[in-house]
C-alpha cells in the first residue's frame, strides 16, 4: 500500500518558525512577518472588513467543532456591552491531540498576535488563555512571552499607539476534559463547577460574567494573522480541495513509524500523511483503520485510506475531521479493546450533569469490557446500539462525540464484536 509518488513539499505557515529544540523568539517571529498584521490593521480600517476577511477565508474552528470563526465574530453584536472577553482555548485534551502544545512551543507570538487581532475585531479588552495543567511548560512560555510582547508594545494599553488596549492572562485549569467545552470553560473561569450550559444565551452574547465572550482554539487564533496579512483567497488556496481552506496541523500517533505533528494542506490524502510524513506503518504492518480527528470521531476504515483530509470529505463518509488527531491502528489491533479504552476515558471525564452521559458511558464500558473479556452475550450488541441511540440525546456534545467510535465499531466491525462473543474472548490476544 505504499504510495508511489515522491514526498511533496507544502508551504509551512503556522509552523514556519518551528525549531526542533526551542521556541521561536520575538525577533524570529517578527522577521518572518510577525506582528505586521497587527501593525497594519490596528486602527487602520473598520473592524467589519476584517471580520469579512476572516469569514471569506472560511476559517473553520480548529478545536474540533469546525464552527466558522468569522461567523462567530459577527455574532458579537455591535451594541453588545463592555467589557468583552476573548478566551483562547488551550485546554487541548481530546485523546490523540497535541497540536496546540506543538504550536505554543514552536511560535508563541503567533498566538499572541492572533489573539490581539481577534480581540480587536471583537472589541475585547481582556484575553485569557485557558490552558490544561499538563501543559505547565507551555503555560510558562506563554506567561513569559506575553510579558515580552507587552514590553514590545504589542499588548497592554494603547497597543502600537492605535488607541486599542488589550492584555492577556494565562489561566491554568485544574484539569478536566469537559473544560474544553466552551460553556463549561466559561463556568470554570468563573470559579463554578465546569458543567456545560446549553445555549441560548450564546457566549458571544452572555459569556464570562454575563458579558460577550469569544472563545477560539489556539490553532484557529494562530491562523488569523496570516489571513489578515495575506488575504482570504491566499488562505483558501492553501487547501488542496475546493471546499477546504488553509493548512492544518495533523497530529499522527499510534502504529506509525514517526508519530508527530505535521502542518499540511487541508484536503491532503490520509495515505500521504501516514506514508510521507509519519514514516509509514510500523513494523511493516497493514493499515486497518484510524480515528481521523481524536477520540470523538468514528473509526475510518481501510477503504478510506486515500480520503482527502478535510471537513467535507470526512463528513461525506459519516465521519468528522475533529481535531485532525489521527490515531492509527494496524491489523493486529483489536478495535473492541481500543473502543473500551476510549470509553474508560469518557466515563471518567463525564462531568456528571446529565443522565445519558453520566450513566451511559460506564454502561458502555462495562458491556465492551465483558465482550473483550469473554463474557459477551449476543444481546449486548443490541444493547450497545440502543445505548448509543439514546446517548445522542444528552445535554452537550460530549456524549454524541464519545459514542462516535462505538457507533462506527457497530457499523463497520460488527463481525469483530461477534467474533469476540462467539469465541468467548478477544481473537487478537491469542496472536500477541
Amino acid at each position: 500500500m505504499m504510495s508511489a509518488t515522491p514526498k511533496k513539499e507544502y508551504p509551512q505557515v503556522l509552523l514556519a518558525n518551528r525549531h526542533p529544540d526551542r521556541i521561536a523568539t520575538l525577533e524570529e517571529y517578527r522577521s518572518s512577518g510577525g506582528y505586521r498584521a497587527l501593525a497594519d490593521t490596528l486602527g487602520a480600517g473598520p473592524q467589519d472588513s476584517l471580520k469579512e476577511t476572516i469569514a471569506a477565508a472560511v476559517l473553520l474552528g480548529r478545536g474540533g467543532a469546525a464552527f466558522p470563526a468569522g461567523v462567530k465574530l459577527k455574532t458579537v453584536a455591535d451594541d453588545a456591552p463592555f467589557p468583552r472577553f476573548l478566551i483562547c482555548n488551550a485546554d487541548e485534551m481530546e485523546p490523540g491531540t497535541f497540536k496546540d502544545r506543538v504550536l505554543i512551543h514552536a511560535d508563541p507570538h503567533q498566538l499572541i498576535e492572533g489573539m490581539a487581532l481577534t480581540a480587536y475585531m471583537a472589541s475585547a479588552e481582556k484575553g485569557i488563555i485557558f490552558i490544561r495543567p499538563e501543559y505547565e511548560s507551555a503555560a510558562r512560555i506563554l506567561e513569559r512571552e506575553v510579558g515580552i510582547a507587552r514590553e514590545a508594545g504589542y499588548l497592554g494599553e494603547n497597543i502600537l499607539d492605535s488607541g486599542f488596549s488589550f492584555d492577556i492572562d494565562v489561566h491554568r485549569s485544574g484539569g478536566r476534559y469537559i473544560c474544553g467545552e466552551v460553556t463549561a470553560q466559561i463556568n470554570a473561569l468563573m470559579g463554578k463547577r465546569p458543567n456545560p450550559a446549553q445555549p441560548p444565551p450564546y457566549p458571544t452574547e452572555k459569556g464570562l460574567w454575563g458579558l460577550p465572550t469569544v472563545v477560539n482554539n489556539v490553532e484557529t487564533l494562530c491562523c488569523v494573522p496570516h489571513i489578515l496579512r495575506n488575504g482570504a483567497d491566499w488562505f483558501q488556496s492553501l487547501a488542496l480541495t475546493e471546499s477546504g481552506a488553509g493548512t492544518k496541523l495533523y497530529g499522527v500517533s499510534g502504529r506509525v513509524n514517526r508519530p508527530g505533528c505535521f502542518e499540511l494542506p487541508i484536503g491532503i490524502p490520509l495515505s500521504e500523511i501516514i506514508e510521507d510524513y509519519a514514516g509509514g506503518m510500523r513494523d511493516g504492518r497493514r493499515f486497518k483503520a484510524c480515528l481521523p480527528g481524536g477520540a470523538s470521531t468514528g473509526f475510518l476504515p481501510v477503504e478510506h485510506y486515500h480520503i482527502a483530509m478535510d471537513f467535507d470529505s470526512l463528513k461525506s463518509v459519516g465521519n468528522r475531521l475533529g481535531t485532525a488527531a489521527i490515531m492509527v491502528f494496524d491489523e493486529t489491533d483489536c478495535l473492541v479493546a481500543a473502543t473500551w479504552n476510549l470509553l474508560e476515558f469518557f466515563a471518567r471525564e463525564s462531568c456528571g450533569w446529565c443522565t445519558p452521559c453520566r450513566e451511559g458511558f460506564p454502561y458502555l464500558r462495562d458491556l465492551l469490557w465483558r465482550i473483550e473479556n469473554g463474557q459477551g452475550e449476543p444481546e449486548m450488541i443490541g444493547a450497545l446500539r440502543e445505548l448509543c441511540r439514546d446517548m445522542s440525546y444528552a445535554y452537550c456534545a460530549f456524549s454524541p462525540g464519545g459514542i462516535a467510535p462505538v457507533e462506527s465499531l457497530l457499523d463497520l466491525y460488527e463481525e469483530e464484536i461477534v467474533a469476540h462473543i462467539e469465541g468467548k474472548g478477544c481473537p487478537f490476544r491469542k496472536r500477541s
Binding site: 478536566r176 456528571g352 443522565t355 453520566r358 450513566e359 454502561y363 465483558r370 439514546d390 440525546y393 445535554y395
Partner: protein, 825 residues
Amino acid sequence: MPTLTIDNRRIEVPEGTKVIEAAEALGIMIPRFCYHRALGSVGACRVCAVKIVDGTRKGVQMSCMLDVEEGMVVSTDDPEAVAMRRHVIEWLMLHHPHDCPVCDEGGHCLLQDMTVSGGHGLRRYLGNKRTHLDQYLGPRIQHEMNRCIQCYRCVRYYREFSGYRDLGVTGIGNRVYFGREREGTLENPFSGNLIDICPTGVFTDKPARYFGRRWDLQRGPSVCIHCSLGCSVTVGARYREVARVEARYAKAVNGHFICDRGRWGFPYTNEASRPRAARVDGEATTVGEACAAARNRLLHVAETAGSEAVACLGSERAGLETLKAVAGICRANGWADPLFWLERRARENVAAAVSLLGDDLVLSLRELEAADCVLVFGADPLGEAPMAALALRQARRQGAPVFVFDPRPVELPLDFHHVPLAIEDLPECIRSLVGAAGDRETARGADPTVRSFTDQLAEPSVPPPPEAVAALRTSRRPAVVCGTDVTDAAAIGLAADFAALMKAQGRRAGLFYLMPGANGFGAALAGTEAASLEELLPRIEGGEIRALVAVEADPLGLYPDRGRIEAAMRKLDLLVVLDYLDTDSAAAADVFLPSTTVFETGGTWINQEGRIQIVRGAHRGGIPVSQTGGGGHPPRVFMEEVPGGQAAASGQTLTRLSPAEVKGASEWVRLPPDTDKQSGTRAVLPDPSALRFAPERTALSGAAGDEAMLTVIAVDRTFGTEVLSSRSPWLSAEETAPTVWMHPEEAGRVPLSDGDLLEIDAGGGSLVLPVKIVENMARRTLVIPRHRDAAWQRLGATRLRIERDCIRKAQPVGENAPVKESPPR
C-alpha cells in the same frame, strides 16, 4: 400566544412557555425529575423527552428545555421518545438500591412511580452498584445517598432558591455526591423542603422514619399555625399521633415550600405531658363534671360579685371558632368585654394594621415575590414569619433591592441593605421616605387628603437613606413590609400611608404586614372592642374581676410581668383554663378542661393578609398508641373509649360551661360563599380610606435621642420562641441559646465583652443573660429573644425603655433561675 398541538390536542399558551408546561396545562404529565415548577428547567435528567414532529428543532427533544412555537406539533407517546424515557429510567436505576420495602419514600416516590409506569422491571446491567457513605445532617433529615439519581434539585433549591451555602455537589461523573462539607446539621431553616423536593428517598423526614407508609397515614389538608403567614401543609397521622407535616402547594401563599418551624413544630400535639383529662381543684374528673363545676362556680361569682366580675381571655393562636365563642360567651353572660391580647400595644398594633390594610394595597406572599423594590419596616422576617424571608429572596433574585429598617441584627438569605435604627426612630424614618418619595406634583394631583398629608409633613430630622430613595425612584412595583411585633401604631400607620402614596402615584404598590400569632387578624376581627389583659389587670388587682376563663391562652406563662400577673392571679376566686398545652396557667387552674389541637378538630384561621383558611382535622386524636402501648405492638385489646379522647374543641366546651345559653354558636364564623376550601379566600377588608393619611402622623414623634435611656425589645426568633413549635425536640437543637444582643458601643459603655453576663433590672424584676455583641444592630437597644429560658417575662413589657443604670455586668456565680423549669423532654 402560540398555539401548538400536543398528542393531537391543541392548546394556546403564552410565549416563553416550555413544552412540558404546555403539556401539563392539557393534563399531560410528562415525566420529570430535574424540572420543578419552582426551580425551572436545567435539562439534566433527560426523562422529559418528547418527539417534536413539527417545529424548528425536530426529533427527540427535552420538553423542559424547549420553548413552544406557533404550529409546533409534539408527540409524547412517540416510540422513540418513549424508548428514550424508558432508557433514562434504566440508567437511573443502575445504582439505585432495591430498598423500596424499607425506604420511607416508598409509596410516594417519583422514581418508583416512573420506574413502575415506565415498565422497567428487569435489570440488564451486570456491573456492581456504586455506593456512597451517608452523612449525619442533623436530627430532622436522614441522608441516604445511594438512592440519589443526580437530578440536582436539592442543590438548586438549597443554594439558588433558598440562599444557603452549606449543601453542595462534589465529585464528578457518576460519583457526584450531594451533601455537606462535613457531617452536621443543615444550616438552612427551610431545609425540610429537601424532603419534599427530592424525587426519591435521599432526604427523608428523620423523626417520621419507619412509622408508616404514606397510605397508612390519616392525611388531611391543613394550615400551619406557627406564624401569621398561614402556609398550607398536609398533616399525616397514625396511631393517634401526628407523624409528619409536609408542604402543600398554595398558589397565593407559600407556593411549594414551608419553613422548618412549620414542618417540625407539631410535637406539642403528641406530648406525653399534654393534659388529656379534665381537672377540678387538681383532681381528675370527666369533662361533664368539670363543665358543671365551672358553670356553677362562674354563676356563683356572677351572683355574688356581678356578671362583670367574670372575664374571658382568648389568644391569637386559637382558631376563629374559639375566638368567636369567647366573644359570644361574654356577650351571652354579660361578662366583661372579651380579651384577646395580653398587651395593649399588641392589641393596638394589630387593630391598626387590620384597619389600614385595605383591598387596594394588600399583597399575598406570592405577590410580594413579584415586587421590584422592598422596604421592610420594624420586622425580622426570618424570626417572625420565616417564609416571608424566602419570598424576599425570590424578589431579590428577580433584581429587587431589599431594605430593612429594624433595630435587630436581622439576617436574611439574600443581600440586602440593613438600616439598624432605634425602634423609636422608625416612624421618623418612614416619614422621611414618604417625603422623599412623595413627589409633590403627583401628590398635588391626587386626593386632597394625600395632598394635605404631604404638605403638612414635618421636615424630617433624619435624611432618608439615599440608596432607598434612589431605588424607589425607578420602582414600578414597590412593596412595603411592616411588622407589628416590635413597632407601634405610628409606624404601622405610616407604612400604610407610604404604600398608599406610591399607589396614588400610579405604581403597583403593595402592603404586607406581619402579625403576631396565627390568628392575630382573626382576633382583631373577632371583637374590635376587645381590650387587653394589661388594660384589665387593674380591675383584677382591685378585686372587681373575680373570675377568669383563659381559652387557649397562658397569661401566667406569657404575660411580660411575671410578678404582677402571679399576684393578680392569686387575687382571683376562680381560674378556668381550656387548653391542649400544659401551660403554667393550666397548672394553676381551679378548673381545667382539655381541648383539641388544629390537627384534631381543625378550625378557621385568618392570615396576616386577611386570607380566611379553613382547616379540617386530620385525625381523631387521643393519647398516642406509642404512649399507651408501652412500646409494644399496636393494641389488640379494643375499648370503646379512645384513651385521652375527652378533649373537645374549646368553642364547644365554652358553650357547655356557659351559664347562659349561647345562641347561634354554629354561625359564629360566616365565610363568604365563594370560599375555596383548599386555599381559602381573602376576607373582604374594611375600607381603610378614612384612616389613611391621618394628620397626626405628619408630626414629629419623640425620637430615641435620649442618651440616658435604653430600649429593650423581646423578640420572636425562627426557633425557640413561638409558643407551640418551641416545644419541638427536633427544633430545639437549632435554637440560639438565649442571649441579649448589644451593639459594641453600648457594650463598651458598661463595659462588657462577648459572653459576659448582663443583669437587667427592668419593670418586672431582674434577669441575667449572656451578652452577644453584634455590629449590625441599633445602638441604645437591647434585644432579647422570647425564649422560654430567657426569663423575658421579668421585663415588665415586650418593648420598654429603661434607664441606662438599670443594666450592669453580673458575676457568673449568681444563678439565673428561669421563670419556669423547662419540661424534661
